[in-house]
């Protein structure tokens, strides 16, 4: 009897250990787990599970397996080249004088993250300016909130930060503006009815 099982494995293009575990139960269903292992490049890859009858597995097993294996291979190549680059970078690295300044900047940047829309980290120089801007924005918003609490809606509206200055905060500002406007109208109505 001739099978091409091992040739199929060779065709997957992954070099390393294949851990196959095949379980056959009394109903004729086979449960197969596949784990790919390669030294320490990737650890913690969960097993892939295939559960089907022997015929189905014969037909579809390699079809289904091919894609995740290719992705894993891609990942491993990525990690390996990344590690190489990392070591290169380590060798070339010079002691950083303004390490503390950088640390502070990154700390502030972390605070920014929740309302940061772009995925790209801005250049280092930007960070300080950005943090400053964010602080200003927060202060203004705080002031607006306080004014609104004291029913000084007109003042609060005047103090609202300019959308043009904070394009990424446009939505929040607009929402606040609507909120204040509504509050102002309600308050105006109330005072008007009092005066009547």
């Amino acid at each position: 009897m001739k099978t091409n099982f091992f040739q199929q494995i060779a065709g997957l293009g992954f070099n390393g250990n294949y851990l196959l575990n095949i379980h056959q139960d009394e109903t004729g269903v086979q449960t197969v787990s596949v784990v790919l292992k390669k030294e320490k490049a990737v650890t913690g890859l969960p097993p892939m599970i295939f559960k089907a009858t022997a015929e189905e597995l014969d037909e579809r097993f390699f079809e289904e397996l091919a894609k995740p294996v290719q992705q894993t291979v891609g990942l491993i190549t990525n990690i390996e080249s990344y590690q190489k680059e990392l070591e290169k970078a380590k060798k070339n690295a010079k002691p950083d004088k303004d390490k503390t300044a950088k640390a502070i900047a990154t700390e502030q940047d972390e605070d920014d993250k929740e309302d940061e829309n772009n995925l790209f980290t801005p250049p280092e120089d930007d960070k300080q300016a950005k943090a400053e801007k964010k602080r200003l924005y927060d202060e203004t918003m705080e002031k607006v909130k306080e004014l609104a609490q004291h029913t000084k809606y007109a003042e609060a509206l005047a103090n609202l930060p300019d959308v043009a200055d904070y394009p990424d905060k446009a939505e929040a500002i607009e929402a606040k503006r609507k909120n204040l406007q509504a509050g102002k109208e309600a308050y105006d109505k109330l005072t008007a009815s009092f005066n009547d």
Binding site: L19, H23, V29, T31, S33, T43, G44, P47
Partner: protein, 71 residues
């Protein structure tokens, strides 16, 4: 009324990294599952099964290795 059977999930820690093992076969008993995965993760052979904890709409079983340091 809707009745859902909770999925079983098996958590295993290797080198400090959590590995989520999916349920290989609903017909397996917990011991079967442990035995099944022991082929891949030999540490599981002597592991204790802790759980199930019902969390996030799953039954989570934890394999806790009893392997300690010698000496």
């Amino acid at each position: 009324m809707k009745v859902n059977i909770l999925k079983r999930v098996f958590l295993h820690k290797e080198n400090g990294q959590d590995i989520r093992l999916t349920d290989p076969n609903e017909a397996f008993t917990i011991a079967d599952v442990q035995h099944f995965y022991a082929g891949t993760y030999p540490v599981l052979t002597n592991a204790k099964i802790i759980g199930p904890d019902i969390r996030d709409d799953e039954m989570q079983y934890r394999f806790e290795s009893t392997m300690g340091t010698k000496g």
